[in-house]
């Protein structure tokens, strides 16, 4: 009895040790960035990167990074992109899910499979021909073009919505129809308000993805003075500024702060959103 108890305690201790190691490994690269971002130029040049800064409240680097990388414009653009992309993808995703879950018609299965297959196509590879298409439509270097490109829905959002619709009894739709509601009315007035949790889940997942997207932003928004986003603003630090890590770290910290805030407040939704999306998708 006693023997098994010691074993249990040791096992718990081991678990805590590994958890701490894991957590430490996860935060160290970021924490070191914070340390470096708080050092003055002189301090940065003369001390080891792991030495703590003299003054944790030194904001000089943050101001420099903010100005050098044009972050005021970047945040404005990113906000604009986020608003329209989220609006667009929530609307398209929920509408399509409504059709796919509530109506039986010939192409129902085909459409689901089209989205599933689309998720398998490697996005980076596709940009070779998407770029050509965007060029023909004169959508390169326009926010509109980038927003339209990002706005389409994807298989994971569709599945999250479909799952949710399937939990809402169809009798609700039917009784609304009986009362003289059209299908549009059913969707916008009856179902949409009930869909709120799913909408929040999709918005968080899609929002984080959009906020962090840099590859297409870099490709299609080439005018870096006017059309910079938060993610692409960091490109400013390649080239001549490439070894000024006190500025770079400050820039990195600025860009990840919004994600951190969203994470702290919406932890539960993020976890459950990811799990829901993965099980079906």
């Amino acid at each position: 009895m006693n023997h098994s108890k010691t074993k249990k305690v040791l096992w718990r201790a081991f678990q805590y040790l590994t958890l701490m190691a894991g957590a430490l490994a996860s935060v160290t690269p970021v924490v070191v960035c914070v340390i470096t971002a708080c050092k003055t130029e002189k301090e940065y040049a003369s001390t080891n990167v792991m030495t703590l800064p003299n003054n944790w409240l030194y904001v000089g680097n943050f101001i420099q990074a903010w100005n050098k990388a044009n972050m005021a414009t970047a945040f404005r653009n990113s906000l604009l992109i986020l608003v329209f992309v989220l609006l667009g993808s929530v609307l398209t995703g929920s509408m399509l899910a409504y059709i796919l879950s509530r109506f039986k018609f010939l192409f129902n299965g085909l459409i689901r499979n089209l989205f599933l297959f689309a998720a398998m196509l490697p996005g980076i590879a596709m940009q070779v021909s998407v770029y050509q298409l965007m060029y023909e439509f004169h959508l390169i270097n326009t926010l509109t073009g980038y927003i339209i490109l990002m706005m389409g829905t994807d298989v994971i959002s569709i599945y999250i919505f479909i799952q949710f619709f399937e939990n809402i009894p169809v009798s609700l739709d039917e009784s609304a129809i009986m009362d003289g509601c059209t299908y549009f009315g059913v969707f916008f007035r009856v179902l949409m308000p009930l869909l709120k949790p799913a909408i929040i889940t999709v918005m968080i997942l899609k929002g984080v993805g959009t906020y962090n997207e840099y590859y297409m932003a870099n490709l299609y928004l080439q005018d870096k003075n006017r059309l910079v986003t938060v993610a692409t603003s960091l490109y400013k630090f390649t080239g001549p500024l490439g070894s000024q890590y006190n500025y770079i770290c400050a820039g990195v910290i600025i860009t990840l702060l919004p994600a951190l805030v969203v994470f702290i407040f919406c932890q539960k939704q993020i976890y459950s959103g990811l799990t829901q999306g993965a099980v079906k998708g």
Binding site: I111, V130, I248, V252
Partner: protein, 329 residues
């Protein structure tokens, strides 16, 4: 005027009628998503297949060259051979999944402070790819973070390699960053799967005297194996198309250019659109075949959903056949 109003109200009534309204709603709600899917996924996909047969740039003349681009992909030193690097990422993703599975099984028990640990380990997933690139360029720079930590452990600077330049180690350093970034996300998925296991099973097992390992082996593992296999499939296809870590950290220099990094360079810097398209098509075929094979293997060993796996069915049949044979003997 009155006539027109009457017409309009007739039309409105007609549109509100069940069947018409149903068709109308199906059409309008499907139009935008399908239109976007067509324009930005399927048309480019078909176009890309077409491009792969041409020698062309984005603008200007194009020349039909048949399968020459495909031949070039296999003959050039920098194209097909780049797929070798995927092995590093496959290795990394297996380490990542084992770690994730371990942490998930620990964190899904009622451990104190579990949420905090979970949050710390998950957060890297939410950092923008390009920021991750900078974080690790900084992390691996000679004499900076990693070297300092290792110096605390007693290594001297001369014993340590250049983490991003030394071709013996740099692919491992880079693949490790993707473990750092995605382990937490994997872990959250696994926790979700473990939590959906019926808790009465644990209680029953505890009464029967099962220890922690037994519980994991016989209750947790069987019920989450589907998601583990799914993640394995995803990780292998993901490794073949590994792009982000080398792109943001070294931009493919010092022998770290994966297949897609090479493709990206050819497409957007050298403007060899035809060749890049051929590369994309080849990888897509490989990925599709790999996925198919993995799915078949999966079906063989584990079955799908409620369906019995092929292996079990075969075993059962063998078992049924056996006694008959004995009877004959």
């Amino acid at each position: 005027m009155g006539e027109r109003l009457k017409m309009a109200s007739h039309v409105a009534k007609w549109l509100q009628k069940g069947k018409v309204n149903r068709l109308l709603v199906i059409f309008t709600f499907m139009f935008v998503p399908l239109f976007l899917l067509l324009i930005f996924t399927y048309i480019p996909f078909v176009k890309m297949m077409g491009f792969s047969f041409f020698d062309m740039k984005y603008i200007g003349k194009r020349e039909f060259v048949g399968i020459q681009n495909y031949v070039a992909v296999f003959q050039r030193d920098d194209c097909f051979k780049a797929l070798r690097l995927s092995l590093y990422y496959i290795g990394a993703s297996f380490i990542q999944m084992s770690l994730a599975l371990y942490f998930a099984s620990v964190l899904s028990t009622n451990i104190r402070g579990g949420n905090l640990f979970k949050g710390f380990m998950f957060f890297p997933f939410l950092i923008c790819g390009i920021a991750v690139g900078f974080i690790f360029k900084f992390f691996y720079t000679r004499g900076f973070v990693l070297d300092t930590v290792l110096a605390w452990c007693g290594f001297t600077q001369d014993q340590l390699p250049y983490w991003l330049k030394d071709t013996r180690i740099n692919n491992i350093s880079i693949a490790a960053t993707s473990v750092w970034r995605y382990m937490g996300q994997n872990m959250v998925l696994f926790i979700g799967a473990i939590m959906s296991v019926d808790s009465t099973m644990y209680e029953a097992a505890a009464i029967d005297g099962a220890n922690e390992w037994n519980k994991f082996r016989y209750i947790v593992f069987p019920s989450i194996k589907t998601i583990i296999i799914l993640n394995m499939i995803l990780s292998i296809t993901g490794s073949l198309s590994a792009f982000e870590p080398p792109y943001v950290i070294t931009n493919g220099s010092f022998g770290t250019a994966t297949y897609f990094v090479v493709m990206n360079k050819l497409a957007h810097e050298n403007q060899k659109v035809g060749l890049a398209s051929a590369m994309a098509v080849i990888l897509l075929v490989i990925i599709l075949v790999a996925t198919l094979i993995q799915k078949l293997i999966f079906k063989y060993f584990f079955g799908e959903g409620e369906e019995e796996s092929w292996r079990d069915r075969k075993r059962r049949k063998n078992r049924q056949v056996m006694p008959e044979k004995e009877g004959v003997l």
